[in-house]
């Protein structure tokens, strides 16, 4: 399993080519890229920061859990930090599996879970201002109190 946090361009094509194996029938790729706007506000760039050691450990855990939970053969999970411009890859998820259904499901679960639990944050630089992106509420498994994710806080 390839699990990495990188500071430079994500080598998407190399990673996708490298994961393929004879028993695979499907490779599902999620390539998360920087969009040119948020709610119509024009974006110049994003700055990603992480609690890096914990983020990497969380990502390793997610990749391993995806394999056991969905029965896929292999997973690559790469997140980039630092300043990213429109169109650049911030997160790459590649899932290799004998069958496509499991590959799609694992890929979707990985991005949805990563976004809620891996300690990475982004600052959005717009043409007319800058803001730390609102995160999603933490799910109950990692929140301070069980049920925090369904309460209306603040």
């Amino acid at each position: 399993m390839l699990v990495e946090i990188v500071k430079t361009v994500v080598a998407t094509e190399v990673i996708v080519a490298g994961i393929k194996d004879g028993g695979d029938g499907a490779v599902c790729v999620f390539d998360g890229i920087v969009r040119d706007n948020t709610r119509g506000r024009k974006t110049l760039h994003l700055d990603y920061e992480a609690y890096e050691e914990m983020a990497l450990e969380q990502m390793r855990g997610l990749a391993a859990e995806a394999v056991t939970r969905f029965g896929v053969r292999d997973v690559a999970l790469v997140h980039r930090l630092g300043r990213l411009f429109v169109g650049e890859t911030s997160v790459l998820i590649v899932v290799a599996s004998a069958h496509r259904g499991a590959a799609f499901d694992a890929c979707r679960w990985l991005i949805d879970t990563l976004k809620k639990t891996v300690p990475i944050w982004k600052k959005e630089q717009f043409v007319d201002g800058v803001v730390w992106a609102d995160g999603e509420p933490f799910p109950a498994e990692v929140a301070l109190h069980a049920g925090d994710d369904v309460e209306m806080l603040g």
């Binding site: 948020t38 911030s90 891996v118 990475i120 982004k122 992106a133 609102d134 990692v142 929140a143 301070l144």
Partner: protein, 68 residues
């Protein structure tokens, strides 16, 4: 940070509230990691533990509430 013994994650949060370390809305949205693993409010702490207060995370490629 000096805390009463036995110390818990909640004691750290209370100390932060007393010191006005963050806005109340942010304090309410935090998760906490102890030695780089997610912890609960009643998680006990030992001398030397690394405690991190984590705002809601926003990794990945899309902003909250907006399509991919």
């Amino acid at each position: 940070m000096e805390l009463p013994d036995p110390a818990t994650v909640e004691a750290v949060l209370e100390e932060c509230r007393v010191r006005g370390a963050a806005a109340p809305g942010l304090m309410a949205s935090l998760a906490v990691a102890v030695n780089q693993e997610y912890a609960k409010a009643d998680t006990p702490l030992q001398d030397g533990d690394e405690v991190a207060l984590l705002p809601p995370v926003s990794g990945g490629s899309r902003s909250n509430g907006v399509g991919v």
